[in-house]
Amino acid sequence: MNERLKVKKTYKLFIGGAFPRSESGRTYEVKGSDGGFIANACMASRKDLKDAVVAARSAQSTWASATAYNRGQILYRIAEMLEGRSEQFVKEISASEGISELKAEREVLAAIDRWVWYAGWSDKLAVLAGSTNPVSGPYYNFTIPEAMGVVGAIATEKNSLLGLVDAIAPIIVSGNTCIVLASGTAPLSAMTFAEVLATSDLPHGVCNILTGSKEELAPWFASHMDINGLDISGVDEPSLVSDIKTAGAQNLKRIHSFSKVQDPKRILAFMEAKTIWHPIGV
């Protein structure tokens, strides 16, 4: 019997709920830990980023106006889908990061658990970070945390799936929409993750995933006037960090880098406080 010809997967970008190739037509080779070829991934350009921002912006108001309970349910649904796909993630991660399947499985399960942990925060944020403020007058005065808008994130190179979850979940749980640049060396699980998002109930454009070079794209993330916040936890080089902060100063972008994982501060960093006065007895 003839040997079966393998049907190999084309890894593309995830923008506005669709899977386009990079507008530039560029790709790069993703290599395993042994240096062997695994797959071609898209090398996103600044114009892909621009398209992703347009998608994220147009999805933002609807996503933010969904009830916190509903957002939490949708995120939990994504965890259900991840669970069903866990075997595929294990294989991809162990091939591209050169770790044993057992270790890869531990990472995948940790990623799912962390996703669920963040999903649970959805309807608790207002209670945690909001307040009723004491005032001397016939008024109520409330402070409510609100989503900031469109937030970018540069995911860490190591622990590709876990890093991706750390980047995406805290941003979108509060009602932000995000554009995340996945790990450059191990982008494959990010695109499989995008397939999970595409088949869950997450509205198109809430999460957009790019693959490519952070040296090339991070400054464009920072200078883009329509990105309100930026998580640069995945950027280690001090010169790149300072470039990003300089470029982001123009529109007073909130740029954060987090060392702690599984921390509600990662959510609150991309929220803003809104204070409302309301007369008593009306």
Partner: protein, 315 residues
């Protein structure tokens, strides 16, 4: 010479002339429009194209919910699309409903925009379903209120059922009402004409009857200004120029929402009708959301980073 000497004003001569027009190669027109759409435009030409496109925009608001406030805001924007940058040109015109014309005209003059004309949509826009006296009065009202351009709709029902002469006479009458000073644009509503052959016929019919511009759509019907339709209309004005030595303008309207689409239209103009048409007096783009995208792309080229809709007006 009346009707450019091509027809003598009888139904038979009009039908014969339109019949003599060659049919449109549908596959060829679509392929050519798609091919021209893939042209890559480099930064320096893009900058020029964006400014040209801004000067060609007919800034439009045609909603039942239009208010005087919205129209005056639009008029201010038409004169100075980007108040932070005086090098941005004014738009080609502002396009409003009949009853908003005087408000728009007054406000334009007030804010130093006397060079920006007001275009009024007339003749029972958008359906064209009214009797002729009503359509004529509609046009006179708009002109009295200060409209410098009239965008009239044709009776598509009559055109599709073969009553070409009715459509022709209607345009001729409105042309008479407009006189020589007021610009007449004839809206074909290509989305309802079904075939490219009809688009070509209707284009010639409107040009013969005295249109200064042929316009694709009302913006109320989809599909609107698709590239192949615009291509067919540009070919029509080019052929008409060869027959009569008179240049008729083209105005695509509806569905052109971003800079990329607008530049594709300019490429079509340049490659089909020719560079002589690349001026606001012969090519206009009917749009509302497009202007903000053009301004944002212009900021991107000027500043070197991507702009945000937060920095342009909401309209």
């Amino acid at each position: 010479m009346k009707y450019y000497g091509l027809v003598d004003g009888t139904e038979a001569s009009l039908k014969n002339f339109l019949k003599s027009l060659p049919g449109v190669d549908q596959v060829g027109a679509e392929a050519r429009a798609a091919m021209l759409g893939t042209r890559s435009i480099k930064t320096s030409s893009k900058k020029k194209a964006i400014d040209l496109a801004i000067s060609m925009v007919d800034l439009t608001t045609l909603e039942g919910a239009d208010t005087a406030g919205k129209v005056t805001a639009l008029a201010s924007k038409a004169v100075r699309p980007d108040p932070t940058d005086p090098t941005v040109p004014s738009v080609g015109a502002i396009c409003v409903y009949n009853d908003m014309v005087s408000i728009a005209r007054k406000h334009l003059d007030l804010v130093g925009g006397s060079h920006v004309p007001v275009a009024a949509v007339c003749t029972a826009f958008p359906s064209g379903r009214a009797t002729m006296p009503v359509k004529i009065q509609d046009t006179i009202d708009a002109m009295d209120a200060g409209a410098g351009e009239i965008d009239m709709v044709i009776d598509r029902g009559a055109f599709l059922s073969g009553h070409l002469m009715d459509v022709f006479e209607e345009i001729v009458k409105i042309r008479e009402v407009c006189g020589e000073k007021v610009h007449l644009k004839v809206i074909l509503e290509t989305g309802e004409l079904v075939t490219y052959d009809n688009v070509r016929k209707a284009s010639f019919l409107a040009m013969l009857a005295g249109a200064d511009f042929i316009k694709t759509s009302t913006g109320k019907v989809a599909p609107a200004a698709t590239p192949p339709v615009v291509l067919v209309m540009l070919e029509a004005v080019r052929d008409f120029y060869e027959l009569t030595n008179k240049r008729i303008g083209v105005k695509p309207a509806g569905g052109i929402r971003n800079t990329k689409d607008a530049i594709k239209q300019l490429v079509l103009v340049n490659e089909t009708a020719g560079p002589e048409w690349l001026t606001p007096s012969l090519f206009r783009i009917g749009a509302s959301a497009l202007l903000n995208d053009l301004l944002m792309q212009r900021m991107k080229i000027r500043d070197g980073y991507y702009a945000s809709p937060t920095y342009v007006t909401i309209d």
